[in-house]
Symmetry: D2
Subunit: 445 residues, 4 copies
């Protein structure tokens, strides 16, 4: 969400730096996590130990709320902001609730994208740390990725017992940076001692298969098993070769032993948030880690999480991959929409979005309607949350609510960006009411 | 130091895992560091904040003891073990003392070398963490290195206003891993969008110039200035181009803002140790950070530190580069020797080192004598610490002591490997007496 | 044409080596070329000098006959054989005639393809020389191609006044060999002195743009102008850069000064043949040089030439590119067909082609009919020449003749493979009669 | 030899183009070569057939005269000019004589060096042809070189039965051009179908091992055997692999079947010259082909040939490699010197060489004296030929003659550059007298 949602706002970074953070153990205390199980990283970040996690197995699960969106436009929608704001609002209306977010890649941060910790008064803090090294998860994933890569070339170098065809090595290296120079490279030049030359390349770390695996693993053992199953390439006879065969999956799991522990931080309103795992939505499933979501469900009555891109891509991956693989059953789907984006879908140019245009808005609502229809097929009740901008008119909000009502769902206007959890109370109440009145019957497609 | 120094020992890792560690704040308390200034990384590692460091300026400095060694052999000497053991022993005899060590590279750990946290009962803990991700310093240095590399290629890509000659870019990329495939590569293949192809390569992170700079910086501002001065390559007219000109030194400093804070851990005897910075001794100066050493001198009466390789290479770099640049004045030089290594210098084969051989020992002592002579030229008094092995004989120890006495110095027998600080008490007492009776007059060459 | 057209044949090479060749000057004498204008290359190959060529301008042109084919199949058609056999047959029936062929690439000769000098008793000799170095044309074209490539890299190396973007250099190198290793390479590695690294590759020489240009040039001056117009790449601003701008087109023309002279050889029946130029039909126009064809038309009353692939690709390129650019007006189009290939188009498997199958043959004739229709659109009368095999039956031949007659054209059975010009006399007579009775009105599309 | 040897000269190319060449068969007639054994390449170049060569075996050998030089300087010496002029002069004084020269590489011609056909009035013609494609030898050698290279990569591609280690392929590709971009390259990029990537490079064709072999071969069979023995690389176990094992030496010999035949051309005075083979003197032996020299010795009473660089490098290679391997026994060694070069060795700057300076000349003569001493060790009598310049003074010539006389040898002043054979008559007479009076006793070192 851009920081210019309203006239004359403070910037995200100003708001974040002005925040009063509580020591992370106080946040842990709220969730019943003892100090011995909460490993601090500085005073306001922590990782949750497995001795504690392993003891949660028999607890009942809270309600799982997915935040997704209409088809994105350059005008912005506000999924992360809504996820954070809804979590704060649920706490405001007295619920035991928390949010689960993805952790950002350093790569796009140094590139064009902003960070991924919400915006306005619906942010997760310490924002700068989260956007930089955070607790080192991204580094560990990069190391695990590159350890496998080095082990493959090393295996070929020392006799190549597995008969890997160097031309058919599919495992690429990773770097947590947008570095065009490394996309397509030739390695192992310089003579016999540097191995067998071949074409290779670096992907951004969040696009590594390790990140996708990491976010689907339910435990360290499960992670190790999944790492071992990675197909790293093929023999000349085109038989697949796995990381297990290369003999490096144990070391990779060791490298990831801390990274796999969920990271605890807080919102501006000092409510707990897990920020853990962040596979790219375009090439992987684009959701935070299964482990963080599962732990959150054991610790809270309401857990709000999000999926990348629009509902057609992100929510479907969340349902069909993450939920199905992890045995999760969501209870409510919140579709984020904005007046501006709907008008854009209705044909209005970006610089004319400030003016009321009910006709274009109506036309653009076709997009929203279709997403509602799609989401309903999963058997989970839908709420629409309109992320309010100062340029919106009442007539526009009313029109959206009418259209959504026509789909048998409710649209609420949410103003968490400007007012924090206070601004999303109606949304929170609507979600709670929806969950209590419409029982979900989740079925992945 | 190999773990087979004596018959039937427990392995280093067994000893380390059996240790009873104190919460890192307790170690900080010993040094007078308030909780607000000690950022925990888990329960037994921490970083020291600059608000505290900046307040130390007016305190007097403690005594600085350098641990160096005779010319290394495959038989092992024990510099790190002696540094740790001497620190523990100084504490045992009632002194306010701590050690300063280099932090290890993950690269050689996955390769052939052991970690770098001492051995036997003279270790720094938590050993596994220190040898793996530790507090993320190595990752941050790698990111800073590669951020500069990416910025250079990016600058060339977007019009190359600085007229950098792509063939004369001297800045290489870095990875914290022994990866022969990346030593000599060609980057930016794959078409126009990936930039201008050129030969490049990755160095191991500890060999990055960033690491050398990092260890010489006295403050964040000094670090930023030094980063800006890096020569990244040359124009076609062979004019140098700096990181400052590329416009990326500020971002690099931001990436390093946490890494630059000294890391506090403890010995097996719960005495404080700074483990911070670790440039390769072969291509850089091979000492821990100036910042850690300076802070330690403000916090303790005695600070023990080490330098890589033998005295001729490592100690001289310590004196001529680190001390001169940082304005440090060492008070005592401890040269580590072993009976086995001296016999090897005297011509004994590795598998015959177990038998007493006074003649070979005497011949090998030439090496030790020369190092003593060299060290004296720096105006700092010398003590020889003989790192005892169970196969050593009394006659051998006595012979070394006679030879060293002939040089006007004292040789003590130290057994910290087997007995911790207790085993190095005589060494500690000798060092203290030497400092008190022989005033150093340090002059770099 | 495979050498197994009939049972118990002598191989092409046996026939070629048993041939009695006349001194090339005797062949030249037949065409009225004085010894001073015929440069010998050994005793049976020669190049025609421009002093002689330039004197031909005012002579009238002979009749131009194009040999093309139905859609090719693995069963073989025999275009080159027909071109040679028809030339011999025209001489047999008393006409002053010669053929013009493409010169073969050494590349495919060392690879899978046979040479390109006809087959059976309809061959051009000396076959081995023609298939190996011949008169050096292919080498000269390769040198011209690579001289331009070297000049481009040299220009970039020495300051790059033209601001060529190394990533946008489109000119590739050439080698007269099938060498997969050279298709995709990186050049200029090894340091500053070797230039700016970039991706490059080698094409087979016959696929070089130089070869295409060479075959369209009407004179040395025209060649030089065309060479200068080659676009070798683009600047960063995407402006094209030409060989002329690089300053190398003069040197390229000098390298080609002998190659551009038509090569004279002879058939097994000692009739003259020009074998000159041979661009790949897949990426260029696939015909012999314009110069050779033009000179032949000045020297003979009938000139037979061929175009690569089937009529839809090869003949259309001949008409639309070569004839239009060179101002040539063909007088008759001969479409080569075989019973076997027609049956294959009719659905018969390769190993069942030996048996009579009139139904399949009839179905397959659809292909031939369509080619006849297409060729007629160019305003040039069509003759079909059935290249006879010993397994053909009379009923099959008759069926083809009926189908072709239905199109208003005549199909003749030709047996030059087994009997030389004697076997193609009817074809020759039909072509002559067609030219005399049906006046062509050539119009390229 | 630069064309500015004297004031106001005609340029080499002007002189060459003004020459009246005889038909090559007339030159052949002088040597007794029948037309059937002389394959023309144009009217003034020809190759000598093996049917004729094979019939020469029983003839006696003529006298062999080597032209070498003092240590070269930028001032120029004139070895090739002397070789040509001496041949013409021997003919002038009534001897049956010819010269044997190396054939030039196209590469340096397009680069900085001039051609290699002599200069002034001591030239070989047709100069431009010789410097361009000549009779295609260089092309054929390049093809043979690259055929082997392609066959190696092809062998690795199709299963690599010989277990060639791609990193240890030592055989490089060749191109007859100075192309810095191709010196250090990576090949076989672009995917599985293009083979296994590896570092490779192109040498200039004259530096190919094929060229060195070509020039040492005594017959086609010997050539084929030598080609088969080429070590193309090594297996992983470091066992050598040969071209014979790769199965390509037969095809390579076929490619070279015409190239191996000696090339006959003529001097400006219409005397016969063999120009055949030209390995680089820096990396190979730097002499023309053994075959040409052997045939010349059968056809003439006196054969003049040259070796690259100065006597210490070129003549020694000629004696120790070419003569020893081919069983040749030279009869006289001519050392070329110039006043200018001797003065330069004596310390005079290049732009001051025009003035008489006897002192510097005397000092520079040390160089000449040493070469005389060295040459004498081979048991072959020495003559010094001073290549005269218009700026030389009589006193200078006299001084050289005195110094040389002091070594027991004779120095003659030669002016063939300005006057052709006429200018080298004294040299010719001296050489003949030397051979007749001092019998050589050749012994390679």
């Amino acid at each position: 969400m851009a920081s210019d949602q309203h006239a004359n706002p403070k910037s995200d970074i100003d708001i974040a730096q002005a925040a009063t953070l509580k020591p992370i153990q106080e946040i842990g205390d709220k969730l019943g996590i003892p100090a011995s199980s909460l490993e601090p990283y500085g005073h306001t970040k922590a990782k949750l130990n497995f001795d504690f996690i392993d003891g949660l197995a028999d607890r009942p699960d809270g309600k799982l709320i997915l935040v997704t969106a209409m088809t994105p436009t350059p005008a912005g929608e506000g999924k992360t902001t809504t996820t954070v704001g809804l979590g704060d609002a649920l706490n405001q209306i007295g619920k035991n609730a928390m949010s689960c977010l993805r952790e950002p890649s350093l790569g796009p941060c140094f590139g064009m994208k902003g960070g991924a910790a919400g915006g306005g008064y619906a942010q997760v803090v310490p924002m700068e740390d989260i956007n930089l090294h955070f607790t080192g998860d991204m580094h560990a994933i990069g190391v695990a990725n590159n350890l496998l890569a080095a082990a493959i070339d090393n295996h070929v170098y020392w006799g190549n017992d597995l008969a890997i065809d160097p031309r058919r090595i599919a495992w690429r290296r990773a770097v947590d940076m947008n570095d065009r120079a490394l996309r397509d490279i030739v390695v192992s030049l310089g003579g016999v001692a540097n191995g067998f030359p071949r074409q290779d390349g670096f992907d951004i770390t969040v696009a590594s298969e390790i990140m996708a695996i990491f976010c689907l693993a339910r435990s360290i053992d499960d992670l190790k098993r999944r790492l071992g199953n990675i197909v790293i390439g093929y023999t000349r006879a085109r038989d697949p070769v796995t990381a297990e065969q290369v003999g490096v999956s144990g070391a990779m799991a060791a490298v990831l032993k801390d990274a796999i522990k969920p990271n605890l931080v807080q919102t501006l309103e000092n409510n707990p948030v897990f920020v853990h795992g962040g596979p790219f939505a375009n090439i992987a499933h684009g959701c935070n880690s299964v482990l963080a979501t599962q732990v959150a469900l054991k610790l809270c009555d309401y857990v709000v999480t999000e999926a990348g891109f629009g509902a057609d891509l992100g929510a479907e991956k969340f349902f069909d991959i993450k939920c199905r693989k992890a045995g999760l059953a969501p209870d409510c789907t919140v579709i984020v929409a904005t007046v501006r984006a709907l008008k854009m879908h209705g044909g209005v140019a970006k610089d004319a979005l400030g003016a009321e245009n009910l006709e274009a808005l109506k036309a653009g609502c076709d997009n929203l309607v279709r997403h509602i229809e799609n989401m309903k097929k999963y058997g989970v009740p839908v709420v629409v949350s309109v992320n309010a901008f100062s340029s919106d008119t009442e007539a526009e909000h009313k029109l959206i609510q009418e259209v959504v009502a026509g789909q048998g769902a409710k649209a609420v206007i949410a103003d968490h960006w400007a007012r924090g959890g206070e601004g999303a109370r109606e949304a929170a109440e609507t979600v709670v009411a929806t969950i209590e009145t419409q029982s979900a019957d989740f079925k992945p497609l």
